[in-house]
């Protein structure tokens, strides 16, 4: 099965996820206040990655709950990656990222604030990266060379389609995880290279899928 067919089935599957969830009994709906609270979140999956490698990423989120129907979200994060290629190339990068967008609860439990949601975000990152142990043969002239490219700078913007769950665990604390389908919208390369990893996005391939694990705290106001 080719990658393009897999990706089409993924999109169909994500859409099918939402279809049965719209079936609900009609009932009298009480008017809901416009502001339903604010939640602070922290993405901790990338931090756990640091236990087994030099790579890490983390982000803090703020989302508003508007009438339990829309959750505008801002996310600010930072990531670090060290990656060695098969040819021995060492790629290191550190950078910040910002995401803005909204999530929409598909299933929402007003008493526990559990939800299954989908959302759309725009992400942006500005980052620096270095490349070491770049080796290439001299070809016909036969003089192999090892070199480095240091201090490259790049920035990128992408859209991020998300589907996730959030479940109350204790008091104002909730846990959740989400899957992300990302596609780069625009990218500026370094002066001498194409960036291989974009903080907040992942490997510089289109599209790219990721999974986040989040811890949330519902503010008391």
């Amino acid at each position: 099965m080719s990658c393009s067919i897999c990706k089409r089935w993924l999109v169909v599957g994500l859409l099918l996820l939402t279809l049965p969830l719209f079936a609900k009994e009609k009932s009298k709906v009480k008017p809901v206040a416009f502001y339903q609270g604010m939640q602070l979140g922290v993405e901790f999956g990338g931090v756990l990655n640091h236990l087994v490698s030099n790579n890490w990423s983390t982000a803090g989120t703020i989302d508003l709950n508007i009438r339990n129907k829309l959750l505008p979200t801002i996310e600010l994060g930072r990531a670090h990656l060290e990656q060695t290629g098969e040819t021995g190339v060492l790629y290191t990068t550190t950078g910040n990222f910002l995401k803005v967008g909204f999530n929409k609860p598909i299933i929402y439990n007003a008493s526990t604030h559990d939800m299954f949601y989908v959302g759309l975000h725009y992400g942006f990152s500005s980052f620096n990266y270095d490349l070491r142990n770049l080796s290439f043969s001299g070809g016909y002239w036969g003089q192999p060379t090892i070199t480095s490219i240091l201090g490259e700078h790049a920035y990128a913007g992408w859209f991020d389609a998300v589907a996730g769950v959030r479940v109350k665990v204790l008091g104002p604390i909730s846990l959740g995880w989400s899957i992300h389908y990302r596609n780069v919208l625009h990218i500026s390369n370094g002066d001498n290279s194409v960036p291989q990893y974009i903080p907040g996005y992942g490997q510089n391939v289109n599209p790219y899928a990721g999974i986040n694990a989040n811890l949330y705290y519902k503010l008391p106001f």
Partner: protein
């Protein structure tokens, strides 16, 4: 109320499980391998000025000045592709043309500046160059036209050797 909460949790768990499967499916489709063209050479075509057209030259042999190995060995070619020395700013090639009227030699000299370009972890890096000029000794090629000074992994004609 309790039944609704239980149903919601079941749906949430079902959705989470399906999403995990879909994520695994997509993650298996990450592209691997180098799909970019990584050959970087100066392409030189031959142009007959009085006929106003591109031509093929017979009996061509080409080698780098000071090198023993031949890039072209007594071949008929309409275009020759030559590598620039990534560790120098000048590369010279000897062109020999054996015809019924005799054997002729010319030396092509390329002047350029080079830089490293890293494409990807799979494709690794290449050396891109910008040609400043190209000269000949004039025996076979009286003049040279610099058509495209940027020498990268894009297939194009960079230099036209006029006959």
């Amino acid at each position: 109320m309790g039944c609704t909460v239980k149903n919601n949790r079941r749906l949430i768990r079902a959705g989470a499980g399906l999403a995990a499967c879909l994520l695994l499916l997509l993650s298996a489709c990450q592209s691997k391998g180098c799909y970019d063209y990584t050959d970087v050479k100066v392409a030189c075509s031959f142009y007959q000025t009085d006929l106003s057209k591109s031509v093929s030259l017979p009996g061509l042999s080409v080698w780098g000045l000071g090198k023993d190995s031949l890039l072209y060995n007594n071949q008929t070619e309409s275009k020759i592709e030559l590598e620039l020395n990534p560790n120098a700013s000048i590369s010279r090639y000897v062109v020999k043309m054996a015809t019924n009227n005799g054997t002729f030699y010319d030396t092509l000299t390329f002047y350029y500046t080079s830089g490293t370009w890293f494409q990807s972890m799979d494709c690794d890096c290449m050396t891109f160059s910008t040609l400043d000029s190209c000269t000949t000794t004039g025996t076979i090629f009286p003049s040279v036209t610099l058509k495209q000074p940027l020498v990268n992994n894009t297939k194009t004609t960079h230099v036209v050797l006029n006959l």
